[in-house]
C-alpha cells in the first residue's frame, strides 16, 4: 500500500522524535532556573534519553547522531569539545549492545542499569576533563550530579515512554 505524502511526513516526524527530544533536553538542561546551587547538580538529561532509546528503539538513534548530539552538548555547555561525544557514544554503544539484558525486564532492572551507566559516564567525564585541564578536579560535584540523575530517572522514563507510544513499530 502506498502512503500519501502527508502520511510519510507524519511517519518521519514520529521517527525523529527520540533525536529531537534528546536535543531539546540538552537545551533545557542549560536554561537558568534561578534556584540556588541547582546548576552544578543538574541531572544528566541527555544521558537518560540516550539510555532509554538505546534499550527500546536503537534504530531511531544512529551512532552518528549520538556523536553529533554529544558535540552539540559540549558546545552548549562550553566544555572541552569531544568529552560528551566520547562519553555518550561509549555509553550508547555499550547499552545498545547489551539491550537484551534490559528489554522486557521490570523497571527496577532498567533503573539499576542506568545507575551503572550514569556512574561510568560521570567518572569518564571527570577523568577526561581533569586530564585535559592537567589537574585533578574535585569529584564531589560529579557525585551530586550522579545522584540527582539517578533520582530523576523514573520521572524522565515516564516522559520517554509516553513519547515512545507515538512512534510506530517497524513492519517486520
Amino acid at each position: 500500500m502506498q502512503m500519501t505524502l502527508l502520511q510519510r511526513l507524519d511517519l518521519y516526524l514520529r521517527f525523529s522524535l527520540p533525536v529531537a527530544l534528546t536535543i531539546l533536553l540538552a537545551i533545557l538542561g542549560v536554561v537558568p532556573l534561578h534556584a540556588p546551587s541547582y546548576a552544578p547538580v543538574a541531572p544528566m538529561l541527555v544521558l537518560a534519553s540516550l539510555y532509554y532509546w538505546a534499550i527500546y528503539r536503537p534504530q531511531m538513534m544512529p551512532l552518528i547522531l549520538v556523536f553529533l548530539v554529544g558535540l552539540f552538548h559540549d558546545i552548549l555547555i562550553g566544555g572541552p569539545l569531544g568529552v560528551n561525544a566520547l562519553a555518550y557514544l561509549a555509553a550508547y554503544g555499550l547499552v545498545a549492545g547489551q539491550r537484551r539484558v534490559f528489554l522486557g525486564k521490570s523497571f527496577g532492572v532498567v533503573w539499576w542499569g542506568f545507575m551503572l551507566v550514569a556512574g561510568a559516564v560521570e567518572a569518564l567525564r571527570w577523568i577526561l576533563i581533569s586530564a585535559l585541564g592537567g589537574t585533578v578536579l574535585d569529584p564531589l560535584p560529579g557525585f551530586f550530579t550522579y545522584v540527582s540523575s539517578v533520582g530523576v530517572y523514573p520521572l524522565l522514563s515516564l516522559l520517554f515512554s509516553s513519547v515512545h507510544k507515538l512512534i510506530p513499530m517497524p513492519e517486520h
Binding site: 566544555g79 578536579l137 551530586f144
Partner: protein, 282 residues
C-alpha cells in the same frame, strides 16, 4: 572485552562505532592543542541556539521571580529593618565618598591630570547556565553586534564574575572566575601585592604567583590589577578566606547562583576606570 551485540552486529556498524570514538578522541586532542580550532563552529552553534534559549529563559525567570516575591512577602518586616540599618551605614559611606571625590578632584587638578576614555557598560541577560558538574561558564544574549569583545570583564553588582571567552554575533560565553581555565591578574587592595587568581572549579579560587616574601592575611580584599588584557584595575573580586600550606584561597564577592543580568565592562585599552556608581571602598 564487552560483547557489542545485536544493533552493532554488522561489521560496518562496528567500524562506524570505533571510527566515531576515534573522531571524538581526535577532536579532544586537537581542541586541547589549539582551542581556537573549533571556535567558529562553537560560536555559530551558540548563535543559533541563543534566541531559542532566550525565549525559554524568560518565562522561567518570570516564574522564578513570582516564587521569589511570594517568599519575600513573609520576610518584609525583617528585610525592612535590615535595609534601614544598611541605608544609615551607606549614607555615612556616601559622605565619605563625596569627601574623597572632591579631594581627589583637587589633587588631580594640582597634577594637571587628564582622565582618559570613560568606561561603557553593556548589560546582557544570562540565557545559559553552567552545564554539568565540571564546567563553569555561562551563555549571554549579547555578542559582537552589541559591542561585546573577547576579554571584557563581566560583573554582577557584588563584583567580578568572569571574563568573555568567546563571542558570536548575538551570543557570548563568559568564563567564570571559578572555572578551571580562568586566570585573572589581581592584587591585594591594601598592599598592592600582585598575583594571579586561578580557578580550579571549587567555590574558592586560589591566589598563585605570589612572590615568596609577600605576606597576605585573611580578610584582605582582592581587586583586579589591570595588568595583561583589557581589564580595568580596581574591580572588586573577593576576599581572602584561607592562608595556609594548601595555598591562599579567595571567596568571590559575586555569587554564581541566580544570575539573571550581568554587566560587561567595555574598556578602551589605555583607559582608566571611573569609579562605578556603587564602588565605595576603603
Amino acid at each position: 572485552m564487552m560483547r557489542i551485540a545485536v544493533p552493532l552486529r554488522s561489521f560496518a556498524q562496528r567500524f562506524a562505532f570505533v571510527l566515531l570514538l576515534a573522531c571524538a578522541v581526535a577532536i579532544m586532542l586537537v581542541g586541547k592543542a589549539d582551542p581556537l580550532t573549533f571556535e567558529r563552529a562553537r560560536t555559530e552553534v551558540t548563535d543559533l541556539v541563543t534566541p531559542l534559549l532566550d525565549a525559554i529563559a524568560q518565562p522561567v525567570a518570570t516564574a522564578a521571580r513570582v516564587v521569589d516575591e511570594a517568599e519575600q512577602l513573609f520576610a518584609l518586616r525583617d528585610e525592612n529593618a535590615r535595609l534601614r540599618e544598611e541605608n544609615a551605614r551607606l549614607k555615612q559611606w556616601q559622605s565619605a565618598a563625596l569627601n574623597l571625590q572632591s579631594e581627589n578632584d583637587q589633587l588631580r587638578e594640582l597634577l594637571a591630570y587628564q582622565p582618559k576614555d570613560a568606561v561603557r557598560y553593556i548589560t546582557a541577560r544570562v540565557v545559559g547556565d553552567r552545564g554539568g558538574a565540571f564546567v563553569r561558564s555561562i551563555l549571554i544574549n549579547e555578542g559582537s553586534d552589541g559591542g561585546v569583545k573577547k576579554g571584557q570583564a563581566a560583573l554582577v553588582s557584588d563584583g567580578l564574575l568572569g571574563r568573555v571567552a568567546s563571542v558570536g554575533e548575538n551570543s557570548a560565553r563568559v568564563l567564570l572566575i571559578t572555572d578551571l581555565n580562568s586566570r585573572i591578574p589581581v592584587m591585594v587592595q591594601e598592599t598592592r601585592i600582585r598575583a594571579v587568581l586561578a580557578g580550579d572549579n571549587s567555590q574558592t579560587p586560589r591566589l598563585v604567583f605570589l612572590s615568596a616574601n609577600a605576606t597576605v592575611k585573611k580578610g584582605q580584599r582582592i581587586v583586579t590589577s589591570g595588568h595583561g588584557d583589557a581589564f580595568p584595575p580596581g574591580l572588586p573580586v573577593g576576599e581572602i578566606t584561607e592562608v595556609g600550606e594548601a595555598g591562599v584561597r579567595v571567596r568571590a564577592f559575586a555569587s554564581e547562583d541566580r544570575l539573571r543580568f550581568i554587566r560587561l565592562v567595555d574598556f578602551g585599552r589605555d583607559g582608566i576606570l571611573t569609579p562605578p556608581s556603587a564602588g565605595v571602598s576603603e
